[in-house]
Amino acid sequence: MTEMNMVQALNSALDLSMAADDSIILLGEDIGVDGGVFRVTEGLQKKYGPERVNDTPLVELGIVGMAIGMALTGLKPIAEIQFQDFIYTAMDQIINQAAKIRYRSAGQYTVPMVLRTPYGGGIKGGLYHSQSGETYFAHTAGLTVVSPSNPADAKGLLISSIGYGDPVIFLEPKRIYRTIKGEVKDGSYAIPLRKAAVVREGDDITAITYGSMVPTVRDAFEKNNVNGDIIDLRTLMPFDIETIVKSVEKTGRVLVVHEAPRTLGLGAEISAAIAERAMESLLGPILRVTGPDSPFPYRHEEYYLPNEKRIMKAVNKLSEYR
């Protein structure tokens, strides 16, 4: 066990995996000599050489396209998109190639590729360094979407994602890259995909969240003595409906929290899915505390991000339903 932050945990996952498997190739902008603008790939080019840790030209579409081609031919590429906000020129490669090749070839070809990318606000990045675009991926059949909420999960989930067999969009909550530390096991270990974690247990309310909002919700619950379950999705798509329904049947009150804009944010699907299968258990409406439907502002980012005040407002509103 070593205490580390999420950047270090991700670096450790990459390092251990690369040491064990020479089919793992890294590519992206500034990931080599520079170690990545957030330093996740620090030291890896020196250790594994420029053939395995590739600094690429400035073209996300090319990075993703090449990673797909590598994956099709037996490698396990891990591409870094410097900010999730810059992934959109590669959307065609992601939606029309990566997500559909297994299907369109009836399983002849598969794409065991990981796209790692920092997402979310909280670093004063404004419109273009703060986006939470998980909906664009989660709505796309064929993609698996993962996001960790702490260093230990980051390591175990990334290890599970590498060579997973289907393309994984691995969303790293950059706000908590360095702000949260935790004990992380030293060797390689996997945390299974498609399984949520219940990170706090209680009877009155179910909070469903992921990524950087997990510590925010937990702090709010702890500070205000909220007696509720907190479900950390870990895998956003396909999300773990069993864990959710089980909790909802117990509490009858549901709160979904995410940074992404509310409209068609992941909360919409979670809300709809719960309404379809646990309507009778619900004591009140399913509430969503999310980012608003606007671009992400620079100066006033603290107003954009869900916070204790807004979470507790929703909790209090829900507690009126009995």
Binding site: I25, G65, I68, G74, R102, R104, Q108
Partner: protein, 336 residues
């Protein structure tokens, strides 16, 4: 030329010609079948046979093809069984993609022919990644990536060309320049000649007469050799014609006046015939027998394949993931 060499050349060229004829015969069969409602859609390949087969002749079976929707002649020459092609067009239960894709979206992993997508040129960065693997794994294989003239305007062309050059990868970009992108002539697609675009990436670029199977073969062979030797990628601008419509949905009379008629002396079948005749490799009798054999094969295969039943409906919702999701399972239960 030595005797042995000559006989080797003869057999190579007769094989090429046979594939050209077979491709043309199949092409016409499918176009007619489409009109009769037996096939849903098709992108004819007429006019591009010589260049495709010339390029294919330069490859070994271990080389990879990342092709596009018009590459039937190349597939046939490579040894992809005709039923793979027809079953795909019919989308029946023997189709290697189980009827999931529109006609003309072939794939045959066994022969290293990658599954075709519709958005044009998006195979090019992917092919570049596949070439990375060959270099990294020192397989000595090369990747041939094909696309049309219109496809050079796409983002993907730019990304692939630059990255292939920067990483010095064993990939050959074969532009099947048939002069049209649906209704847009290549002169309006871009002002520069396509082979000159290679220089923008520090890449070698060449133009060939795509109607000449031998020239295309030789130029591709050299590109392949260079790629295997670690000398990097090449762009080949193979100029040919789209003799037919863009697809069976297209009406070229709306935008095109001049066409290359079948049987005219620009038709690659005729051009190849002449070349082989002048070298004494074929004569009218052999031509006749190759053509009638082709017709029989095509007719027989087509009818055989037409008898194959459609895939199970549930197969339309499989292979989305390695392991299906609860969402999809639920949805499919509701559907079936």
């Amino acid at each position: 030329m030595q005797e042995a060499e000559k006989s080797e050349e003869k057999s190579r060229l007769v094989k090429a010609y046979t594939a050209i004829v077979l491709a043309r015969t199949l092409d016409k069969k499918i176009v007619v079948a489409q009109r009769q409602g037996r096939v849903g859609f098709y992108t004819p390949t007429m006019g591009q046979e010589a260049l495709q087969i010339g390029a294919s002749m330069a490859l070994t079976e271990k080389d990879l093809i990342y092709g596009y929707y018009r590459d039937v002649p190349m597939m046939l020459h490579r040894g992809v069984p005709m039923e793979v092609i027809i079953n795909q067009i019919m989308g029946n239960s023997e189709d290697s993609a189980l009827g999931r894709q529109m006609p003309s979206h072939f794939s045959d992993k066994k022969r290293n022919f990658m599954s075709v997508q519709s958005p044009v040129a998006t195979n090019l960065p992917v092919a570049t990644g596949a070439a990375f693997t060959q270099k990294y794994r020192k397989t000595n294989s090369v990747v041939l990536a094909t696309f049309g003239d219109g496809s050079t305007s796409t983002p993907d062309f730019h990304a692939a060309m630059n990255m292939a050059a920067v990483f010095n990868l064993p990939v050959i970009f074969l532009c099947e320049n048939n002069g049209w992108a649906i209704s847009l002539p290549v002169e309006k697609q871009t002002i520069a000649e396509i082979w000159t675009k290679a220089a923008a990436y520090g890449m070698r670029g060449l133009r060939v007469n795509g109607n000449d199977v031998i020239e295309t073969h030789e130029v591709t062979l050299e590109a392949v050799k260079r790629a295997r030797e670690g000398k990097g990628p090449t762009l080949i601008d193979a100029v040919s014609f789209r003799m037919g419509p863009h697809s069976t949905s297209d009406d070229p009379s709306k935008y095109r006046s001049e066409t290359v008629e079948e049987g005219s002396d620009r038709d690659p079948v005729v051009v190849t015939e002449k070349t082989l005749k002048s070298r004494g490799y074929i004569d009218d009798k052999l031509i006749e027998s190759i053509k009638s054999r082709a017709q029989k094969i095509v007719d027989d295969k087509f009818e055989e394949c037409a008898k194959i039943p459609p895939p199970e409906p549930k197969s339309a919702f499989e292979d989305v993931y390695g392991k299906s999701t609860w969402m999809l399972d639920e949805e499919v239960k509701d559907i079936l």
